[in-house]
Symmetry: C2
Subunit: 277 residues, 2 copies
C-alpha cells in the first residue's frame, strides 16, 4: 500500500465543526487534497459556491454523502425520496465527484419486514441508476453495521449490498466499504474480493471501533488506531481486490467535534501516516 | 406452534428485581413452570438452596446463564476462565438443567485479532465439552449481536457459532438462538436449519429490538411485541428445524427493571400469549 497522503481523503463529517471555507483552508495547511462532502453543509454554503471553493482550493471531492432512505412503502413518501435522490445525483455531478454514497433507510414505522424493505431499495435503484449514469455519477450502496438495521439501514452486510448492486451495471451501482460497519464480519473479506472483481468498490472509508458505544450509537466512531480494527488489514483487502481510489476517513465522534477542527484534521493525517507507514 | 405456557420459560434477568423466592412465588401465581437462571443470583441465594427452592416450587430450570469469556491469551487468565466454566457446568447439573449458555468473550485488551480469539474458544470447548458431558450438561454457544464483537463476544453469527460447535459432538456443544442477536442476519434462517439438522439448537431465547439503543447497548432489549422482530417467524424457523424445547424470554431493560417484577412477569406472559396466539 502507498504511504503518504496521495490516497487520503478527509470526510467533512470528521471535522464538522469547520465551516466550508475553514475546511478548505485547513486542508491546504495539512497537505490534504481530497475531501468527502455531506449534502446538508453543501446546501448551507451553497452548491455552486462549494464547487467553486473546492476547485479554487485545488481540492478533489471524493464522495458526496448521502442519498438513500429508499424504504418507504407509501407512494407519496417514495416519490419524495426518489426526487431527493435525483437532486443528490445532480449535486454530486456539480461538485465534480463521481460517487454518491447511499444509506438505504430503515424499516417503515411498524414494519418487521427486512426482506421487503431491501426489495424496495432494488426498485429504487432501478430508477436511480440510469439517472446517475446520465450525470456520470456512481451510486455506492453502503452496508451499515447491523445495529442500525431497524432505524437507518436494512442493508447490513457487504453480501447484501452486492446482491442489490449486481442487479445493475457496475458503473451505475456499487458499494461503499466502511471498516466501522464491516470489521466484525468474517464474510467481508471474501465479499470485498467479489466487489473488486466486479469493479464495484466505489468508496472506501475508515473509522475505528471503540466502546462503550454512546446512547443512540451514532457518534462513537473511533479515531483510526484507537480501536479494535486492523486498518492495514482492511486496506490491504480492498487493494488486493484492485481498489486504487481514495481512502476516506469518516468519523462521527462527539469528543472530536468538541475540539479544534484543524487540530483534529492534523491528528487524523498523522494517524493515517502512522497506521499505514 | 403451540399456544399456552407449556413451552414458555422466564429468564430470571427479565425480572431481576425479584429475589429468588419472589421469582418462584411469582411463577406460581402466573402459571409459569420454567425458568432460566443466572449464576450470580444463584450464588447469592446459594446453589443448593436455589435447587431446592425450584424443586419445591415445581419449577424446571431451562438454562443456566452463563459460562464463557474464553478468549484470554495469558495462561493464568485462561486457566482461571476454564476453572470457572467447570464450576458453571457443575452448578448447571446441581440445578437440574441440561443447558449452560456460553458467551464467548471479547478481544483481549489491545488485540485486533477476531480470528485468533475464536480459535481460543475452540480450544477451550475441547477441554470443557467432555467435562460437560460427564455432568449431563450441553454447552450452548450464543452468538451475540455484532455490536458486542469487541468487548463481549467475538462470535457474532449463528454460522460462526456452528463452525465452532460442529467440531464437537452435539450432546457436548450446540448453540443458543436469541432473536435479539440474529434477527438482522439474512443467513440466520438457513443456519437455524443447519443447527436443527445437527441437533444443536440447545436454547431458544426471545427479546425484541427497539431503538434508540442506550449508552453501552446492554440494557435496551424490548419486551416481545414492542420492536422490529417478527417473533412468530423466528419461532416458526426453530420449530421447522425440529426444536421442541423451551421458549425463554430474556430481557435486559432498565425500564422493566424499574417496575414491579410480578407485574413485568404477568405482562411478559400476556405478551407471549398474544404474540403466539
Amino acid at each position: 500500500m502507498t504511504a503518504g497522503l496521495a490516497r487520503f481523503s478527509i470526510n467533512q463529517m470528521t471535522v464538522k465543526q469547520l465551516s466550508m471555507p475553514e475546511l478548505a483552508a485547513a486542508c491546504g495547511e495539512s497537505g490534504v487534497t481530497q475531501v468527502g462532502l455531506w449534502r446538508a453543509p453543501v446546501q448551507e454554503y451553497g452548491l455552486r459556491a462549494t464547487a467553486k471553493l473546492m476547485r479554487d482550493a485545488g481540492l478533489t471531492v471524493t464522495t458526496l454523502c448521502r442519498g438513500g432512505f429508499l424504504t418507504a412503502t407509501e407512494p407519496q413518501a417514495r416519490a419524495v425520496a426518489l426526487a431527493d435522490n435525483r437532486r443528490a445525483i445532480e449535486e454530486a455531478a456539480t461538485l465534480g465527484t463521481d460517487t454518491l454514497v447511499l444509506v438505504s433507510g430503515g424499516l417503515p414505522a411498524g414494519s418487521k419486514d427486512l426482506y421487503g424493505a431491501r426489495e424496495r431499495i432494488a426498485d429504487a435503484l432501478a430508477e436511480l441508476g440510469p439517472c446517475a449514469e446520465r450525470h456520470g455519477v456512481r451510486l455506492a450502496v453502503e452496508p451499515l453495521h447491523p445495529m442500525y438495521a431497524s432505524d437507518r439501514c436494512v442493508v447490513s452486510t457487504l453480501a447484501q449490498a452486492l446482491d442489490l448492486a449486481e442487479r445493475f451495471p457496475a458503473h451505475q451501482v456499487g458499494v461503499t466499504v466502511d471498516t466501522y460497519h464491516v470489521w466484525w464480519d468474517d464474510q467481508a473479506p471474501a465479499q470485498i474480493g467479489r466487489a473488486g472483481a466486479g469493479g464495484r468498490i466505489h468508496a472506501f472509508q475508515l473509522a475505528d471501533w471503540i466502546t462503550p458505544l454512546p446512547q443512540g450509537v451514532l457518534n462513537g466512531r473511533g479515531q483510526i488506531g484507537d480501536g479494535a480494527i486492523d486498518m492495514r488489514e482492511w486496506r490491504g483487502l480492498v487493494e488486493a481486490a484492485g481498489y486504487t481510489g481514495p481512502v476516506e476517513v469518516e468519523l462521527f465522534n462527539d469528543e472530536l467535534w468538541a475540539r479544534d477542527g484543524r487540530e483534529v484534521l492534523a491528528e487524523t493525517v498523522e494517524r493515517f501516516h502512522s497506521v499505514f507507514q
